[in-house]
Amino acid sequence: MRALLEATNLRKSFGPTPALDGAGLSVRAGEVVAVMGPSGSGKSTLLHCLAGILQPDSGTVRYRDAELSSMPDAQRSELRRTDFGFVFQFGQLVPELSCLENVALPLRLGGIKRRAAESRAREWLERLEVTGVADKRPGETSGGQGQRVAVARALVTGPSVVFADEPTGALDSLNGERVMQLLTAAARETNAAVVLVTHEARVAAYSDREVVVRDGKSREVEPAR
């Protein structure tokens, strides 16, 4: 099967020390890939390059038939809105908007009418069991609730790839488990691939296979049957 998203030989430096040094990764449609490795090894940087948020110094990132690193910014923005979803450890919600509006935001940016967008957003909040916080602002929710809202927002557009960077990093085990269950279940249902950066094995266990990043180099581990 052809890879949906494929990065090869990525290099990226911040100043003198390289954050990525020839890393690569390929993601097939609908699979959950865990990216693991010690702190500072370049996991987040790899994820940002895959998602087109960062431009690598060299190497290629191919999504479907397009080359991300040669796309203009506007097109990459568009791609983020329509085909990608993001869940970070924290901070990705717009603090000024209510949770419902936050989830509806990508749809509205895509030109969908407010009412339609919000009703779809509400469905997703229901699926993630956080209808209670729909009218609260992110600052007024607990970390776990906020993460579920973020998951809802990542999935609401029906993306092909969801990028999750330590999505459970700030949560306790119970909430973390729940967020992971909801995220992977929803992703599988919509056939969305998930790129999951984590250093917790228990969280990585929700994946289909793992990729290990060390010193800016990645090593794909084929699933042992």
Binding site: F86, Q92, P95, G111, R137
Partner: protein, 760 residues
């Protein structure tokens, strides 16, 4: 198009959402912009104020006519009361058809008068007690506003049917064409510099206010970028936010303006006051302001986003800002300098004001604009090498290194005001030296002249009698004054009096009866002294009687200050005995007992029964030329404007500093919670404002003096800078910064309370 609108709407939604924090931010933005808008609206009313004043004074213009029964006989009397001028008009109707002056319903009869509201208030108050003696007439009504130039004018219109017709002006009607004032190149440039220097900082403040809470906004927009809003759209969204702030600011500003307009009649700033009705913005200027403010808001906020727009990662990483580049920041200063250099000498006296006003204004604006563009770079480079020090210092410096932009913005407005003030001050000083060629003599508060109008019968004995009985009078001297001329152009005064009387007037060495003196200016400019023995034409002051006369032997005296009353020939009675001179006019000089308060008012009251036939002035007080009067009023208006701008600078600085504390509430709370003493936080806040302020002082002093030098070249005046004034202004600005920091300390206390820890 629809996309546009929905993006703007989303921006508005973002600015409104966020609960208390957003509201506080909006209130601060509204206050910041609103203050500026209010001042701009007031400034845009200035043309109306002048137009209305001119209109009213043209209505007041008395057109002389035939001395017959259809005329109104009018006599002006200017009297002073504790440094305020009271404008009194005595009038008598020649007949029933006589015109009635504007502002009153009918010509007042004998013993009646109309007074302006301010005068009525003064007369009714305890402070006006002494003045009441000068007005025995009964007040029968108020003078309407249409007959006053300003609400605080002290005016009385008094009926005086016993006034002899031939000593008053017959007036056929009131109302003439409005007269345009020609200020001449010097004053025109001064007014231009003043307006630009005072108004431009306000625009800077408006621009700065729209960037409140910049870091927070950047984070919010980064979150939008992450979910896939393109750079273009994020700009539109930010524009929407800025628009909302601008609109709120406009509303707040209009409200502020409307409210303060109501009270404007009660306010006197440096003696200036304005009618509420006159304080009406010129319509096109008002429209311009309401368009300019939102445009400015949008432009500055979009420009400010150059960097953040490209970074969706702003949500997780606060990267160190890119190093600023210098070259484009120097462009405004360079362009402004070139613009002003091209105009060098163009507004000089000799070139008659051929300067291009647009280029001049543009040049000044560009130079001043250079300050807010330069400052961030200067702050960044200056702090980047600083290390170590006490914890509070370190906190402040690290903060400045990370976010020099905010700090530069906070002090940017004040810096512009300061630079403008320095330039204005220097130009004012030079121009005043040019316009007031002779130093204004210090009036001698211990002596007054009592001038009398010439009447068929000599009023002097009567006046002297009145004065000798008055309270606070030490001595009453009389002298005779007449004049002579050598040719048609060179006039000089002759004063005849006893040694005692003349010594009181001017410093004469060792005077004995029979002596004669010639008093000339020390610098010996002006008319050359006539040699003794020259035959000249002597004449009475009205030039009706002229006689040929030979100048006697005299002693030359060089005096410090020479005015009309205290220069020329001084002759003792014995020196002119037998000489055939035209009759002189009696001058009365009164020595006051300065230990008595209001002695001069008692003198004025003593001769008040003679009304318009007298005028009392201090010895040494000189009548100023029209140009000097104009200059004085321009200077006064500029100083009043500077005061307002300075207040605005303080208010804006406060708003910005408060916002800075608010934005950094969480880190501050964390520091306080982890045991950093409040004192250290307060000091770090102080450093954080003081360091940029110091840099701002340096930059603005440099730009201000540069601007002053350029402007003086434009005026063709020697470049002389008033370092004392510059120092004083800088110290004042520094003081302002300190006061503002002190005012933010309570908010720091609140921010570092337990609640600050809760992130929102």
């Amino acid at each position: 198009m629809k996309r546009w609108f929905s993006d703007l709407a989303l921006g508005v939604r973002l600015a409104l959402g966020g609960g208390r924090t957003s509201w506080v931010r909006l209130v601060l933005t509204g206050a910041g912009i609103g203050l500026g808008v209010a001042v701009l609206l007031a400034a845009s009313s200035v043309p109306t104020i002048f137009a209305e004043r001119a209109e009213r004074s043209s209505q007041q213009a008395a057109i002389p006519g035939e001395a017959d029964d259809r005329a109104l006989y009018l006599r002006w009397w200017i009297t002073e009361y504790r440094a305020e001028t009271v404008d009194v008009r005595y009038m008598m109707a020649g007949g029933p058809q006589a015109p009635v002056p504007p502002g009153i319903p009918a010509v007042p009869g004998d013993g009646e008068m109309y007074v302006s509201p301010a005068l009525r208030e003064l007369l009714d108050s305890p402070e006006g007690e002494l003045l009441r003696e000068r007005f025995p007439q009964k007040v029968i009504g108020s003078i309407g506003d249409n007959a006053l130039t300003a609400p605080h004018d002290l005016v009385a219109m008094v009926g005086d049917p016993r006034m002899p017709r031939d000593s008053a002006d017959p007036i056929a009607r009131f109302g003439g064409p409005t007269q345009a004032q020609d200020l001449g190149p010097l004053l025109t440039l001064l007014v231009i510099v003043g307006c630009v220097v005072l108004l431009f900082p306000i625009l800077v403040f408006v621009g700065i206010s729209t960037r409140l809470a910049g870091a927070q906004r950047d984070r919010r927009l980064a979150a939008l970028r992450l979910v896939g809003a393109g750079a273009q759209r994020v700009r539109r969204i930010a524009a929407g936010e800025a628009l909302l702030g601008a609109v709120i600011g406009l509303a707040v500003g209009t409200g502020l303006f409307m409210i303060s307009r109501r009270f404007v009649e009660d306010v006197r700033l440096l003696g200036l006051s304005v009618f509420t009705g006159d304080l009406t913005p010129v319509p096109w200027l008002a429209v311009l302001i309401s368009a300019l403010v939102p445009v400015l808001a949008v432009v500055t906020s979009v420009l400010a986003m150059r960097r953040t727009v490209v970074e969706p990662l702003g949500v997780v990483r606060h990267t160190k800002p890119v190093r600023r580049v210098l070259w484009w920041r120097l462009v405004p200063i360079a362009l402004g300098t070139v613009a002003l250099l091209t105009q060098a000498g163009s507004m000089g006296e000799s070139s008659g004001g051929a300067g291009n006003q647009e280029v001049l204004i543009g040049g000044i604006v560009l130079l001043l604009l250079g300050i807010p563009t330069m400052l961030p770079w200067v702050v960044e480079r200056s702090v980047s090498r600083l290390r170590g020090g006490a914890p509070s210092w370190q906190l402040a410096i690290r903060r400045l290194q990370l976010e020099s932009g905010t700090a530069a913005r906070v002090v940017g407005g004040v810096a512009v005001v300061l630079a403008g003030a320095i330039a204005l001050q220097s130009v004012l000083t030079s121009v005043s030296a040019k316009i007031i060629e002779e130093p204004l003599s210090e009036a001698d508060r211990g002596k007054v002249h009592v001038s009398l109008r010439q009447e068929p019968q000599d009023l002097a004995p009567q006046a002297v009698g009145m004065l000798e009985r008055a309270e606070g009078v030490k001595r009453v001297h009389t002298t005779q004054s007449l004049a002579y001329r050598t040719d048609t152009r060179n006039y000089q005064g002759i004063t005849i009096g006893t040694c005692e009387a003349m010594t009181a007037l001017t410093a004469l060495p060792d005077c004995q009866d029979g002596d004669a003196f010639m008093v000339v200016n020390q610098a010996a400019t002006g008319n050359p002294a006539v040699a003794p023995g020259t035959t000249v034409t002597a004449f009475s002051e009205d030039e009706e009687i002229t006689k040929s006369w030979t100048v006697p032997q005299y002693e030359l005296v060089r005096a410090e200050i020479v005015t009309r009353n205290t220069s020329g020939l001084f002759l003792t009675p014995a020196a002119v005995r037998g000489a055939d001179l035209p009759p002189g006019r009696t001058q009365i000089m009164v020595e006051l007992d300065q230990s008595k308060a209001d002695a001069v008012e008692h003198v004025r009251n003593a001769v008040a029964p003679l009304t318009w036939r007298t005028f009392v002035s201090f010895v040494g007080e000189i009548d100023m030329a029209d140009r000097v009067v104009q200059f004085m009023s321009v200077r006064q208006a500029l100083l009043a404007g500077s005061l307002i701008t300075l207040l605005l600078a303080g208010a804006s600085l406060l708003v910005l500093a408060l916002e800075q504390v608010r934005e950094r509430r969480r880190p501050l709370a964390v520091l306080a919670a982890s045991g950093v003493p409040r004192g250290a936080l307060g000091r770090s806040l102080l450093w954080q404002n003081a360091v940029p302020l110091l840099l701002a002082l340096v930059v603005s002093t440099a730009v201000g003096t540069g601007l002053a030098a350029l402007l003086l070249r434009v005026l063709d005046l020697p470049v002389a800078l008033d370092w004392g004034g510059i120092g004083l202004l800088s110290v004042a600005a520094a003081g302002l910064g300190l006061v503002v920091t002190a005012l933010t300390l309570p908010s720091l206390r609140r921010a570092t309370g337990a609640l600050g820890l809760r992130s929102e």
